[in-house]
């Protein structure tokens, strides 16, 4: 790990004043579960690290009317155990299989973590090219994207992103110049070049909170190779508005299948006006993966994503205590 100076601001104002306008100069430290590894690999070599854990206003889960405000410092453990957040979100947080990571990792960190793509982590950049040619489409791509069509083939590693998009949540970003809010869907970006970040956060901004509308029928389902300490292979988060027994509106978002969480309007359309049962959930899963373009070693993920959508839908209509 390269050396850096360390700042421990006590307020958001102090913290934003310490951030540089250019990527690479400064990094924000919360749980550290990704940042420290990035710094050890020297993928990130910030001159200054700004610890935000001493900023009280970034902590805690707060209900306000039909919405819940989730501070950036809320840990995955707190989120998984909160009775105040929609099921899809709590289930996504609980899915992180290591208790140590759940204790350390934060909501903000989950959304801002860098891709886990092994080409990226080995220093080949976001698009992983060599002499102008992409390494991934015919390389070691068993855990890479089946949607998006390149030139980025990594998958978004965020556990919460798909659930937050399904729930139509918004994200708040604050810099020394002011603040802005945007739908979580617009936070994730498919980079077309190596210089673009995969998230809409600017280098001088801090993600401060997530604002999540209430939802009665939502769920997240993850398909994993191992039950312990590994990333899921494919996930799905769903949120449904029900009219009696039939679906009035649906948002269906897959995770770990594209450089961003991947929403399927076709899957939602396949469900509207119908009840959720084995047959309709399966049809929605089929519709969700209709546009998939797997790479040389990851066609198996198409089936996993289809099953994740089906199981998330069936779980979303289960009665919960």
């Amino acid at each position: 790990m390269q050396n850096f100076e360390y700042a421990n601001p006590a307020s958001l104002q102090q913290a934003t004043a310490l951030l540089a306008a250019k990527w690479g100069e400064t990094d924000v430290l919360a749980g550290g579960t990704d940042l420290l590894s990035l710094m050890k690999e020297e993928i990130h070599t910030p001159k200054r690290v700004v610890n935000i854990k001493s900023i009280p206003e970034l902590a805690g889960i707060r209900k306000a009317g039909a919405q819940v405000h989730i501070g950036a410092l809320v840990t995955m453990d707190e989120l998984a155990g909160s009775g105040d957040v929609p099921h899809a979100l709590a289930a996504a947080a609980a899915g992180v299989p290591s208790p140590q990571i759940r204790h350390m990792g934060t909501v903000g960190g989950d959304l801002c973590q860098r891709p886990r793509c092994w080409y990226f982590r080995q220093g080949h950049g976001l698009l992983a090219t060599k002499d102008g040619k992409p390494l991934i489409p015919n390389g070691e791509n068993q855990y890479h994207a089946i949607f998006g069509g390149g030139p980025a083939y990594f998958v978004s590693a965020s556990s919460l992103g798909p659930a937050l998009i399904a729930l139509n949540a918004r994200i708040k970003l604050v810099s020394a110049k002011g603040s802005r809010e945007l739908p979580v869907k617009e936070f994730f970006i498919q980079p077309k070049d190596d210089a673009t970040r995969e998230i809409a956060l600017r280098p001088d901004e801090i993600l401060t909170e997530i604002i999540v509308p209430a939802a009665t029928h939502s769920s997240t389902y993850e398909v994993r190779q191992r039950e312990a300490l590994d990333w899921p292979l494919a996930t799905a988060s769903v949120a449904l508005s029900m009219k009696g027994n039939t679906v009035a509106a649906a948002r269906i978002v897959m995770g770990h299948v594209a450089p961003t969480p991947w929403e399927s309007a076709a899957a939602a359309k396949a469900l509207v006006g119908k009840p959720v049962n084995e047959e309709t959930a399966q049809a929605a899963g089929k519709a969700a993966v209709a546009g998939a373009h797997p790479l040389s070693h990851n066609a198996y993920k198409v089936q996993l994503a289809k099953v994740a959508v089906k199981r998330a839908l069936l779980d979303a209509v289960q009665a919960r205590a």
């Binding site: 790990m1 050396n3 006590a10 200054r48 610890n51 290591s98 204790h103 300490l229």
Partner: protein, 215 residues
């Protein structure tokens, strides 16, 4: 022996340390090699003060005792414990928040000490495997590992014992499935999971009966 002028790089382990020499040494004497500062413990670094990159005073509260060090901000809690304090129970294996061998408790919750900056662990209660039981005694979880042959090479064991202890605090009546899920943050490359699960279930019973040591 370390002086407080030492640059404190994570790349530079303490010269003159015999790893074996520290086995069985409690924290009281483990302060050997630590730059003992005159200043009292700093509970909270001031506002937006920026420190480093050179070594700065860092005070850690480990196993109930304050330890004053001089460290660069980049030194992890794991490296601080192993290379500057002589607490080598927590092991450095993956060093990437993946394997669990470095597990310690921070304010009562298990974390990967390889992925916490030492400077960031100030003001928190750090508990390590060395502080789990009095010298010469076994904590019920350690005793249960012994009784159930829950280790082969033993390198992952301190991390597993800490993870299991943290798990049992939150889940005093676990099922076998709960144990599998609850220890999902630790790896054993020897594959001793069967023994570990049995040990954790036995430790749960011992702790419920009042936690007598030595099995």
């Amino acid at each position: 022996m370390k002086s407080k002028k030492d640059p404190g790089s994570s790349a530079g382990p303490n010269p003159g340390f015999s790893r074996r020499g520290f086995l069985g040494v409690g924290l009281g004497s483990g302060a050997v090699g630590v730059g003992l500062l005159e200043k009292p413990a700093v509970a909270e670094p001031a506002g937006a003060e920026v420190v480093g990159p050179q070594a700065v005073p860092v005070t850690l509260n480990i196993n109930g005792k304050p330890v004053n060090l001089t460290l660069e901000p980049r030194v992890t809690l794991l490296d601080a414990m192993r290379n500057y304090i002589g607490l080598t129970g927590a092991k450095k294996v993956c060093d990437r928040a993946t394997c669990g061998a470095c597990t310690v408790m921070l304010n009562g919750k298990i974390v990967y000490s390889c992925t916490v900056l030492a400077i960031d662990a100030q003001g928190k209660e750090i508990q390590t495997i060395e502080g789990l039981a009095a010298p010469g005694e076994l904590h019920p979880v350690s005793a249960a590992f012994w009784n159930n042959d829950a280790q082969q090479c033993g390198y992952c064991t301190p991390g597993f014992v800490m993870a299991a202890t943290g798990f049992l605090k939150e889940n005093p009546n676990p099922t076998d499935a709960d144990v599998r899920h609850g220890l999902g943050g630790n790896f054993c490359r020897c594959g001793t999971y069967m023994g570990i699960r049995k040990a954790v279930l036995e430790a749960a019973e011992t702790l419920k009966k009042g936690g007598a040591s030595n099995g």
